[in-house]
């Protein structure tokens, strides 16, 4: 099969593809070119790094290296020469490929604000996308007491939470009416804002920023309503844009991302694209799970282990999990339309649930706060399985249906056939019979029936029955 594979990008998608290729049989040379100088790292953990919970080595990912994999970091690619089937690095080196994979990812979007020159960002104003960004934020955060986060999407909130854990007074500024408006409805957004407030993160909603000014001592953010906010640090989290520059320059079809088919091929059959830079069926993914699914499919195709493999997007689950915050959003949770709708709100405890069901299947859900059924809901949604007949199970989870039968309040109410001792299959009736046969103490009843001699868990119940029999003796025994 393919002899020389070149992967441009050593991020979550590119590194994963290298690993997938590494795990498969076959003789091939794989070259991975990472623009960043670091080992492959887990971007999802950057907010944890920001929070100071882990160190840089802890976010490194397993790298496929050796055994036919040539991993080169700190090597940006300048151009693709499709005719020669070569890529050219910034240093001018030319590397031939039989198959080229673009895994160039996405770049942080910098908002077009007066005072913000993308080519020359002030030291205290940092986007939040890469490990280097993270380092710059941490450098700026050292000695800082306050931070502003522009953008109340998933990443912005994770970063804000991380900075708050570091002890910074943190404010999130979001132009929309509620947080994470792509994943949440206004009610959920409000509950989330309340949760964040309890965690020391202030939220400013429905107010666009109009300008930035920064100097050595601090940052000023001007808002459309005339207010200005001051802080030691401004973190920008205003979305990302697929990095399609190489593809565009090479003449590949690019819409928002590099357009690929079900086998992740661009319109050049020798070039594929996966991950954040790719656009499949009009959709940009932006999440790890689909990027890894694409890596698996592409590895199957390139190595011939499954030449007919096709990438089939799965419904996306968005999960925000930071200390003190537990949020899951999936499918079409916000929209209306036919079907059932279940909601549960407990704003005081920060709990909100909204489930949308059509034809016995979940079509969308938002779960925020303590929702014990969240794992069940995610699996039912992901697999398209039918929902429980009693919908409350989805809202209340393990609280419903799984508790053991409560013991009868009084032994008198317990049916004779009820098993008191599971280990020795001793029923209440058998205990009563042993009493009637002359056993008058717990020990005697135990000796006669073996109840309580296994795990010992029913000793209290046996004692209760003996007490009851003692008190009811006149009635029970003379009968």
């Amino acid at each position: 099969m393919t002899a020389r594979v070149v992967i441009v990008g050593n991020g979550m998608a590119g590194a994963r593809l290298a690993g997938e290729l590494h795990a498969r049989e076959g003789d091939r040379k794989v070259t991975v070119l990472g623009a960043e100088p670091h080992r492959a790292y887990n971007r999802i953990l950057l907010s944890t790094l920001l929070a100071g919970r882990v160190d840089e080595p802890d976010i490194e990912l397993t790298e496929a290296a050796g055994h036919g994999i040539d991993l080169r970091t700190g090597v940006p690619v300048a151009a693709i020469d499709r005719a020669a089937r070569e890529v050219r690095t910034d240093d001018g080196e030319r590397i031939s490929y039989d198959h080229l994979v673009l895994a160039t990812g996405a770049r942080a979007v910098l908002p077009p604000l007066p005072g913000l020159d993308p080519a020359n960002l002030p030291e205290r104003v940092v986007p939040f996308r890469t490990l280097d960004d993270c380092r710059r934020i941490l450098a700026a955060a050292a000695g800082a007491r306050s931070a502003l986060v522009l953008g109340g999407g998933l990443l912005g909130l994770e970063a804000a939470r991380g900075l708050a854990i570091r002890g910074l007074t943190t404010t999130v500024v979001h132009p929309r009416g509620h947080l994470m408006e792509r994943q949440l409805d206004p009610a959920a957004g409000a509950v989330l804002a309340g949760t964040l407030a309890d965690l020391g993160v202030t939220i400013q909603l429905a107010v666009p920023a109009t300008g930035v000014a920064a100097d050595a001592t601090g940052v000023r953010l001007d808002l459309a309503d005339g207010r200005t906010l001051h802080a030691d640090l401004l973190l920008l989290s205003c979305g990302v844009r697929p990095d399609t520059a190489l593809a565009q320059a090479a003449g590949l079809t690019v819409r928002r991302g590099v357009v690929v088919d079900d086998q992740l091929r661009t319109d050049d059959r020798s070039i594929s694209a996966i991950g954040d830079c790719a656009e499949h069926d009009g959709v940009l993914t932006g999440l790890v799970a689909p990027a890894w699914a694409q890596a698996r499919v592409l590895a199957d195709v390139l190595t011939g282990s499954d030449p007919l493999a096709r990438y089939r997007p799965r419904p996306v689950v968005t999960r925000l999990k930071a200390a003190g915050i537990d949020l899951a959003s999936m499918g079409d949770a916000v929209g209306g339309g036919p079907g059932e709708e279940l909601t549960f709100t407990d704003p005081t405890r920060g709990t909100y649930a909204r489930l949308r069901i059509r034809d016995e299947r979940l079509v969308g859900a938002i779960l925020l706060g303590d929702n014990p059924a969240v794992g069940t809901v995610i699996q039912l949604f992901d697999r398209g399985h039918p929902v429980p007949t009693d919908r409350r199970a989805l809202l209340l989870g393990r609280a419903l249906g799984t508790a053991g039968a409560a013991p009868a309040a009084s032994p008198a109410l317990m049916p004779d056939a009820a098993t008191v001792c599971q280990c020795n299959t001793v029923s209440k009736g058998a205990l009563v019979r042993s009493w009637r046969s002359g056993a008058r103490t717990v020990d005697a009843v135990v000796a006669a029936t073996r109840a309580g001699t296994g795990c010992g868990g029913c000793r209290d119940a046996v004692g209760g029955i003996v007490d009851w029999l003692s008190q009811a003796e006149a009635v029970e025994v003379t009968r």
Binding site: N42, V54, R319, K321, Q379, P386, T389, Q422, T425, G454
Partner: protein, 710 residues
Amino acid sequence: MTDGARSATRSGRTPREVATHCPYCALQCGMVLREDDAGVSVHPRQFPTNRGGLCQKGWTAAELLDHPERLTTPLVRDPATGTLRPASWDAALDRVVTGIRAIQNDAGPDAVAVFGGGGLTNEKAYALGKFARIGLRTRHIDYNGRFCMSSAAAAGMRAFGIDRGLPFPLADLGRADTLLLVGANPAETMPPLVRWLTEQRANGGQLIVVDPRVTATARQADLHLQPLPGTDLAVANALLHIALTEGWVDREYVAERTAGFEAVRRSVAAWWPARAEQISGVPVADLEATARALGTGGRVIILTARGAEQHAKGVDTVSAYVNLALALGLPGRAGSGYGCLTGQGNGQGGREHGQKADQLPGYRRIDDPAAREHVAGVWGVPADELPGPGVPAYQLLDSLGTPDGPRALLVFGSNPVVSAPRAGRIERRLRDLDLLVVADLMLSETAALADVVLPTAQWAEEDGTMTNLEGRVLRRRALRPPPPGVRTDLAIIADLAARLAPDAAAATDAAARFPADPATVFAELRRASAGGAADYAGISWARIDAADGVYWPCPTEEGSDTPRLFTDRFATPDGRARFHPVDHRPAAEEVCAAYPLHFTTGRVLAQYQSGTQTRRVAALRRAAAEAFVELHPDLAGRLGIDDGDPVRVTSRRGEFSAPARLSAGIRPDTVFAPFHYAGAGRANSVTNDAVDPISGMPEFKICAVRVEKA
């Protein structure tokens, strides 16, 4: 305290009494057997594992001694009628020996195979391995322990350099601040062990249970994680991921006592909790609570059992929990650690002394030249005469009667027709043999297929040693001799070895090599195990009698035994434990439109293993008479099944039928059945025979099925 047998007459007025242990599971509860005019009765005894407790299986164990179905004469299949008929021992053993000779002359020594069991005493396991290697000269021996804890054994070996189920005394469980049970249901499988769990919780400890069902054990837990079967590995990796991000990894311990953490750290960086949540269905919040309890507790114990281990990725799954334990600095720390709950009575000892395809006594590798030299020396044969490694149990069973496989099989203490995965296929393989010999107490389903059935002694009729789940070597003591017509396994092995000898001189030689007396065999086992990982050299029966058992390794009679392993070093060349990066992978068979449900198997309290014994005890039969199919009411409703309806469970490999038992305690995407039953209710008719690449463990615990009203 009575520890030895009191002398008494077989019958008459003086009751005969002996202190021994239960014949069933690896807890090996201490019990006293008493025989008087009324027969043999069981009495619980204070012993450090069961502390006076017994479950219904133990209480009723003596019922089999004089059971009407007990075999008391050999049976030989009549070629004319095809039925089994009583025969003399001479006739039966002649048939066996003639058959073996003919097959080996025709197809070589490897054409005869031996299949042992985890219920055999150490002496019998040892003798069986020796008999296979130098009596039959076959490389083909393995045992049903392969279906038990082989995955934990392999993971333990590669991490710690040694495999002892619990590397610490059971009593440690009672003092643990946090106890995590993964795929273990001791409330059904070894009820007296639950006394330790009760004590643990009374001491303020937290019990966390990982199980796809709300089992009797899970009901007692402070926190129950209910993952999809086959996703325990993802759960473990996420727990370690959380421990890393929360700073609970014991960096000092990792630096001083382990090797290989970097690779594991990088691999679990990719297992953020939400990823494991989607795969397992365990909420992130519960993963975090579990990680916190493990990461911040003082004394912390992690135990795995069959639920986590009986998978085609069983070794990796156990390794994931071992990684977690090592990262938290548990193994070797007082009161903490990782362990496996061994299942069968002598599952531990049975794997140490040569029943395993690749091992020699003392837990030595058969492909290790030094080990071969040592054991061959004890056996009095040149090392190059010892065969090489055979193949694991399922591979062995699946090759029987095929052109390249063995044509004869000798089975001791096992019932693979019920207990093997994809049992219908194994049953056909057994039928394809030229010669099947089964030694058992009852006419098990496997014995019923045999050409020759040899009736063997029961636990109360033999002396020997058993090694329990703690690695504690115990004495099994005879209350009375076997009934007339019944012989011990050791006597059968001795007789076969002598009869297989080519001439009288060789027969005398063989008789000396294969003594029928268990004390003599144990003395030899001690020498054979000396210097091995499981070193019994310093363990004498007298020493066991003097204490409540002796923990291996115990190299010298004067020196101490080893209740706790790893306090100073691990059994690796450099003394460091090894991390192994492991990744979750899907089950060998995933659900699809035709087989849309996950199927998993397990046990019930009143039955033991394949049920050869317990299905014949009246009280146990009353308590758990037949198989059942446990399913969630939601699923049952969609399938139009009511509680008690007969249902059929079908996989790509076969089907079985049993009444439905509706339970809200099982996931709606999963159905469960106990595997103890034979015939139409045989759950193993549908299980998957995909095996773990390292341990050879079949994937009993998950396959794809469809369920319909029968």
